[in-house]
Symmetry: C2
Subunit: 191 residues, 2 copies
Amino acid sequence: MHPFRQFILQYVHLPTKDWEKIASRLEKRVFEKGTLLLREGEICNNIYFLEAGFLRYFISKDGREVSKFFTQPPYCFTSQRSFNQRIPANENIEALEESQVWLLKRTDAIELFELKSWNEFVRKLVQEVQFFTEQILEDIQNNTAEIRYQRMLQAGSPLVQKVPLKHLASYLGIAPQSLSRIRKNLSSPSN
Amino acid sequence: MHPFRQFILQYVHLPTKDWEKIASRLEKRVFEKGTLLLREGEICNNIYFLEAGFLRYFISKDGREVSKFFTQPPYCFTSQRSFNQRIPANENIEALEESQVWLLKRTDAIELFELKSWNEFVRKLVQEVQFFTEQILEDIQNNTAEIRYQRMLQAGSPLVQKVPLKHLASYLGIAPQSLSRIRKNLSSPSN
């Protein structure tokens, strides 16, 4: 079964004829490690399904990169605000590993809203993304970078292994040196 | 025109017969200042439209209240995760002023998904809430509490006037004393 079909089925009932309409509009793309799938200032005209790979969302701030989110497969992604309002994106999306994605053009995605299944799928997905964003926000409002890093470790988050230290530090809102120190303290014999 | 109808019309085309179906399910409620519309641990079985008043979302953490969001009219609100997954809410919703709301039961809200207009409205609304949450998150990741407070001042945010200092401080992630100091510095003659 197509991985995107499998993914949609986790959220909604998907009649075969609906899936065929969706599938006929999908285009496969492969992005090499280090490539930008979207650059700040561009309008994001697509919604994507990440089949394999690993992505980083970041913004540029005073000449440095601040990491916002990381996306692991299987999941959908776009630059929501840019996609919905057709305005330049305020973020970049980078492939941290070679990434295989399925692309759906904005015009096609909108046409597909005629399908009840697609409409429901998108609504549920956006709600889920909203939960995730709210959780990150709550976590930042309530916990120090050190506690947040410790929790990622305890939860066995793949981010700890996969994300380069400098990106993980900016995601946690601290300097790379501070994260190194936290790592060192946590791995010292007294812990 | 009913304020909720007016609100929906900002997002989607709303045929009269669709509005009538929605309107027939709405119930008016008034909450006195200081009342909790939702308590942590309860399941939120309603979606609400805030016609007048002012709300605060907060969680309890180590015996103190941490403010997450504030909602001003006209806007819709619920405890999304609790509402969608039928699990106990991890947050409280408090009326900071006397608040007039229109309530729609979960079962009714779900039945209304048969209407294309309602489906589209909810999707767009959730997307908008997602934008707002992402903006707050980005703001916290990138700026100090002082800069965030200064920006609220510059933008003429009603939060500065309406929200008690202790709630605003916890929203900014700082102690009330620190916010008092920031306020004092900003109002000193050298600024």
